[in-house]
Symmetry: C2
Subunit: 109 residues, 2 copies
DNA sequence: GTTTTATATCGTAATATTGCGATAAATAAT
DNA sequence: ATTATTTATCGCAATATTACGATATAAAAC
């Protein structure tokens, strides 16, 4: 149906999946890498940088903001977007945790 | 349109996004955690474990297999699925790399 | 005050994902 | 041989995502 049965899974499982989904698009990866590089950014740069329409970039920025990965503050007529340091760390730890919780012993097959 | 403009992004950006997408669903997180715990697994267990229909589980397993995160070998009438150790490591490293490539200095706003 | 600049939001189209019943295919059990 | 058991695949419906033009909004520049 296209609707995820979130209630079947634990809070943590839904959380990890949501985090993964947030970075599950190359445009959002590119945005994050660009924000990381410049450390101060306005959306206009991204439109040139990525080659997507302004509306599309804005939409991706919104998703990253909702996920908590970036934050934006109004700077005159522009908006200054940057990475949210605290949540970035949370993401890193969440993924690191997920991938190391699993101790793989050779596999079964 | 629902179609991602992959050609606008680097190979690596597309790769990271695809990896994230693969684990961007709680059912797939749950499957991976379960596989990691049991280390030997058949799909039947997952149907009971997760509460999703067999067809749905099979579909998620296929996606995980396509992403390279799991592997399956035919074991009589069943299929033994398990984590693909090498690729698991690759995923871990890819995410760790992505999150630490970014050195956050306080943020800009 | 009008015009430009920067960003967000709305509406819409195209495509993707999620989920499941039904059915197929292949082995195991009887 | 026939009947379970196990998994994959097909077909479909519901919903989500991606993308963009058009438009709104708000500050800056003139």
């Amino acid at each position: 149906m296209g609707i995820t049965k979130s209630d079947l899974f634990s809070k943590k499982q839904n959380e990890i999946a949501a985090m993964a989904k947030a970075i599950g698009h190359p445009a959002r990866i590119a945005i994050l890498q660009y924000l990381a590089k410049t450390n101060t950014c306005i959306c206009g740069d991204l439109v040139e940088e990525l080659g997507l329409a302004q509306a599309t970039i804005s939409q991706h920025l919104k998703e990253l903001k909702t996920a908590g990965l970036i934050q934006g503050s109004i700077e005159g007529a522009s908006v200054c977007y940057c990475i949210h340091p605290g949540n970035w760390k949370k993401f890193r730890e969440q993924f690191a945790g997920f991938f190391s919780d699993v101790n793989i012993q050779g596999g079964c097959c």
